[in-house]
């Protein structure tokens, strides 16, 4: 009994929280890489972690992304989180669900790893369990991270050992399958609005509409087309998309901006996708301030009602000239907290002067012109150049 007590005290004193592993080489696995393989192998990989949550289970997808970043950077020459611009030889698709072990403590995770080559063919698949336990208990996320890193590293070593002789290496020339082919039942997670600025299929939208998308589509007049990001600025919240499409209508951009205070404007867009029909909507208002939130530059305030899905849409005057791009609205929750009231129609747009500078910088063609049509005609043209942006995450 005495010895048992001493042993228990020693174990308790020695117990400590997990410390996150700092390098992939420090991740201990049973699997060993074959001696004839020198790391990192020259293949490019992208990784994608499923973010869906199963009932009564937890998805630590953020920790899995961190673990994949650590491990893959040691094993492969190029690696990164999958996005719409990723070029890769292999896609690592990972899904994980975790639950707390109420008997012994620690997180039990089931991890599924699929390796798919650039043609869309699955070349490796493994489902395994990992145990994360540490004295940190429920919140010992370092233990979760370490267990993910160990599990993924072991599986990827097995993949490399099995496929080393036939590994695809930096094969950018061979055709890559459409990202949709890598996922079953892929549905657009978020939507926004864009508008054509030239007749070459280049559409302007807000950068946050296409941020973190693994695949982007542009929908126009019943056609759905794959889109790629031509240029993007997180700072300005602007992006230009390229689609293989010969559109006819484009927005009119004035050589000299005329966004005077009080000017009547309208917004065309595709708000509340999934709730409202796919027809474009049009709301009217005016430029209510030439400034935005304190400290913002190149932003103005307008009163035309907007909803989620309007972001990236064109704000035009009644003659059909671009005044700006829909960017954001005042956060109602923040307003309620700070002022005990909600705001009404306080929306923000990126002014056309800034849009032009962005287009010029990225060499996106547009024809400066002044439109002098009436409201009915302007709104009809706006419907023609406006399009819906679908973002798959």
């Amino acid at each position: 009994m005495k010895y048992f007590a001493v042993l228990a005290i020693v174990v308790l004193l020695a117990g400590c929280e997990s410390t996150a592993v700092k390098s992939a080489s420090a991740v201990k696995t049973k699997a060993k890489i074959n001696q004839n393989i020198s790391l990192p192998v020259a293949s490019k990989v992208a990784y994608y972690v499923d973010k869906s949550v199963t009932e009564k289970k937890v998805n630590f997808y953020g920790k899995m992304e961190e673990a994949l970043e650590l491990v893959t950077s040691d094993l492969f020459s190029e690696t990164g989180l999958l996005n719409s611009q990723s070029d890769f030889d292999y896609l690592l698709k990972v899904a994980t669900t975790s639950k707390w072990d109420y008997v012994w403590g620690g997180w039990e995770s089931i991890i599924e790893l699929n390796v798919i080559d650039r043609s869309g063919k699955q070349v490796f698949s493994r489902s395994f369990e990992q145990q994360a336990s540490g004295t940190g208990g429920f919140y010992d996320m370092n233990a979760v991270f370490n267990s993910f890193a160990a599990g993924v590293k072991g599986s990827l070593i097995d993949f490399l050992n099995a496929h080393h002789s036939k590994l695809i290496v930096n094969n950018s020339d061979s055709p890559k399958a459409d990202i949709k082919a890598f996922f079953s039942n892929m549905e657009a997670g978020t939507t926004g609005t864009g508008f054509f600025v030239n007749k070459k299929g280049q559409s302007v939208t807000a950068a946050h509409v296409v941020e973190d998308c693994v695949y982007i589509e542009l929908r126009h007049k019943g056609q759905t087309l794959p889109a790629v990001i031509h240029s993007s600025s997180q700072l300005l919240d602007l992006a230009v998309l390229n689609v293989d499409y010969q559109n006819q209508a484009t927005v009119s951009i004035e050589p000299e901006t005329s966004d005077t205070l009080g000017k009547q404007v309208f917004v065309t867009g595709y708000p509340l996708a999934g709730i409202l029909s796919d027809y474009p909507s049009l709301t009217i208002g005016n430029i209510s301030s030439k400034g935005g939130l304190k400290g913002a530059q190149g932003i103005f305030q307008f009163s035309a009602p907007t909803q989620p899905g309007n972001s990236g849409g064109a704000i035009t005057d009644y003659s059909g000239n671009l005044m700006g791009v829909v960017s954001s609205s005042l956060n109602q929750r923040m307003m309620l907290q700070n002022t005990n009231t909600t705001s009404q129609n306080v929306n923000f747009g990126i002014n056309s002067a800034l849009v032009k500078r962005f287009l010029d910088k990225h060499k996106v063609e547009y024809k400066p012109s002044v439109s002098k049509t009436d409201f009915e005609k302007s709104s009809a043209i706006a419907v023609e150049y406006s399009n819906q942006i679908l973002c798959y995450k």
Partner: protein, 194 residues
């Protein structure tokens, strides 16, 4: 004869260990010094929306003294670039705390509870509300509490933690100086808003 050889061997091993230790200490010190110093060269970084839970104004003043950012504005929520600095304190859920707690409980609180603690400072650089870079600096220390009153005690930053907190400023500024993404955003800001 054997004893003498053993003694000589032990002496030489000790000398080698001492030399290695001293060398590593010096190299560590010079590296640390370079991290603790920062002099801003070139144009000041763009204005930032500044958020922090550090109430001590001396800390913000110290950051301003580096003249790295042209403005730290706590109210300008519309500035597209943000800098958030948070400090936090956490008691580690480890064996030391558990065994100390048991010991304290068994003496009805006469012996205090000793815990390992972690003092963390986190810096985030945001663009349009999205973090593009973050850095965390951690300092481990020990905390002593009374078993009965620990739950009611408000944690105050210790002098050593305050010193550590201020030292992280130079480390952070040195780190963002070499961060291409952050520097790219700063350059882009001036491209559009000079």
């Amino acid at each position: 004869m054997f004893k003498q050889a053993l003694r000589t061997c032990a002496k030489s091993t000790l000398t080698i260990v001492l030399v290695c230790f001293t060398a590593s200490t010096f190299s560590q010190e010079s590296k640390t010094n370079s991290l603790l110093e920062y002099t801003h060269a070139g144009k000041a970084y763009p204005p930032v929306f500044f958020v922090s839970n550090i109430e001590d104004k001396r800390f913000t003043q110290k950051l301003e003294e580096f003249k790295a950012f042209s403005l730290l504005d706590e109210k300008a929520v519309g500035i597209p670039i943000g800098l958030r600095i948070l400090k936090g304190h956490r008691t580690k859920q480890d064996g030391t705390q558990f065994s100390s707690l048991m010991l304290s409980a068994s003496t009805l609180g006469i012996i205090p509870v000793v815990s390992n603690t972690e003092f963390k400072v986190r810096y985030d650089v945001f663009v349009q509300g999205k973090s593009i870079a973050n850095y965390e600096y951690t300092m481990d220390s020990t905390d002593v509490n009374n078993f009965w009153t620990a739950a009611y005690r408000e944690y105050e930053t210790k002098p050593s933690e305050q010193q550590f907190l201020e030292a992280t400023l130079a480390r952070f500024l040195n780190e963002i100086k070499t961060n291409k993404e952050v520097q790219g955003v700063f350059t882009e800001y001036y491209d559009y808003f000079e």
